[in-house]
């Protein structure tokens, strides 16, 4: 194939991402799972000179209930319409979501309204009757990882560190994991589409790391909502994660990078659970494979304090990765809160190496 032809085809896999003035909506669950991630996003957006607006009246998009078969689609559409109303009232047009499932739901709702305008009209009536609000649809819908992807060169330029092993000089070997709701439902809404998701790969390459391919790269992390929400079903969830770990282990990854609320949660926590179930660990020397969100990684690259990023609440310790990159950290401060008070220290796992 001619190089020009390849470029033309690749252009079709790109999406438009606004450059400034974002209306940001947080996730329901991420502040519990990885509490520093969203704060870090807002911090580097501010430092990079971008305007991000939040409205405290923002609620759940209802995606988690919708995908758990609890919330009907009509209700979900009205909830989404209300979020758009908040954006319109604040005078913004670029809608940015923190959560992948929200991003998937917003995409699904906009696509539904595009093909069935009468449903959009019905939703407008529902919202008006329920809240008295009206809304404009966003001109640009992006996930926060899209925005970070767009700013990846600026982050690299402003960064203090690169994804390079300081001892060997080799790039850090990174496995990337894209959330299912990012581009699988609507491929044109994601960078690289469903076939070649490039949003995390672009960050890793720009920040100096090496992307590792492995057989189960596109397998689901195992969250799957119904697989996890009912305790008796969690065997399905953890087995799906184990399938990925078993597949990636021979390639010796040093980091798993994710852009979804559920994926880092389960790829991180299930490593502990598997180790306690059968004594298996997936990193070097009884360590696990550290799992990070793109915001946390961007924060590390930019030189933020690891404990401000919330890395102390990860189940798999991130210290081995920071040692490799040469990022300084104070172990004494790991379990201190922002006011310097001791938060308590978790018990050491039986098999997974703890710091």
């Amino acid at each position: 194939m001619k190089r020009e032809g390849k470029k033309l085809i690749w252009d079709e896999y790109q999406k438009e991402i606004a450059d400034d003035n974002y209306f940001y909506v947080r996730s329901c669950v991420r502040q519990n799972f990885f509490p520093g991630a969203e704060k870090t996003f807002l911090r580097y957006m501010k430092e990079l000179g971008r305007n991000v607006f939040e409205n405290p009246s923002h609620t759940t998009c209802s995606g988690i209930g919708y995908h758990s078969d609890i919330v009907p689609f009509e209700t979900a559409m009205t909830m989404v319409a209300r979020q758009f109303a908040l954006m319109s009232e604040a005078g913004y047009e670029n809608f940015v979501t923190s959560c992948i499932t929200s991003f998937g739901l917003y995409s699904e709702v906009l696509e539904t309204w595009h093909h069935f305008p009468e449903i959009e009209e019905k939703t407008r009536v529902h919202l008006k009757n329920a809240t008295g609000r009206e809304f404009n649809k966003p001109k640009n819908l992006a996930h926060a990882s899209d925005v970070t992807f767009r700013l990846r060169k600026e982050i690299a330029k402003a960064g203090k560190y690169r994804l390079v092993n300081q001892i060997t000089g080799n790039p850090i070997r990174v496995v990337e994991h894209i959330g299912c709701h990012y581009s699988r439902m609507f491929p044109s809404k994601g960078v690289g589409g469903a076939e070649y998701p490039y949003v995390l790969v672009g960050m890793i390459e720009e920040w100096g790391g090496e992307v590792i391919d492995y057989p189960e790269r596109r397998h689901c992390c195992g969250f799957g909502f119904r697989q996890y929400l009912v305790k008796a079903n969690r065997g399905y969830s953890i087995s799906a994660s184990k399938k990925k770990f078993d597949s990636m282990k021979p390639y010796k990854p040093e980091l798993i990078l994710t852009n979804c609320p559920g994926c880092p949660m389960f790829l991180d926590r299930w490593q502990y659970t598997i180790s306690e179930m059968e004594g298996t660990t997936y990193g070097e020397n009884s360590q696990g494979i550290p799992v990070m969100t793109y915001e946390e990684l961007a924060g590390l690259i930019l030189g933020y304090d690891p404990w401000d990023l919330g890395l102390q609440v990860h189940q798999v310790p991130v210290e081995p990765l920071m040692d490799k990159i040469g990022i300084p950290y104070d172990p004494e401060k790991k379990f201190l809160d922002k006011d310097g008070n001791f938060m308590g220290k978790p018990n050491s796992p039986a098999f997974l190496k703890f710091y």
């Binding site: 305790k231 008796a232 079903n233 969690r234 065997g235 399905y236 953890i238 087995s239 184990k242 399938k243 078993d246 659970t273 598997i274 306690e276 179930m277 059968e278 004594g279 039986a350």
Partner: protein, 110 residues
């Protein structure tokens, strides 16, 4: 080990890179009619041992192709060697010799 109230499900993925195909090569050399099987299952339907033990010759054929030799070893012990399977086979596969060949292959490979 901690009991979390749920368990890991064994991965049922077939990885052909991990199969041991030495067994298949030996058996195929000893009984080439193995390759004309159409997997109809007549052998299994008429199997005397199958009524009591769950022995399944068609499954054995699949296991050989997958290189899952450990399961074959355990299964082979169930055959009563009556030969009814051979009588009903529409393709004329010499099934008794196939069972013999498998046992010999086990002896060879240890």
């Amino acid at each position: 080990m901690i009991d979390f109230g749920y368990t890991l499900t064994r991965d049922r993925q077939l990885d052909y890179d991990r199969g041991d195909f030495r067994f298949l090569r030996i058996v195929r050399a000893m009984e080439p009619s193995l390759d004309v099987c159409i997997g109809c299952g007549s052998c299994t339907a008429t199997c005397s041992a199958g009524h009591f033990t769950g022995f399944n010759i068609r499954k054995l054929h699949t296991l050989i192709q997958r290189g899952d030799n450990e399961t074959i070893k355990a299964e082979l012990k169930k055959c009563m060697f009556c030969g009814k399977c051979q009588l009903v086979c529409p393709r004329g596969v010499n099934l008794r010799n196939l069972i013999l060949a498998m046992n010999r292959a086990i002896e060879q490979l240890g």
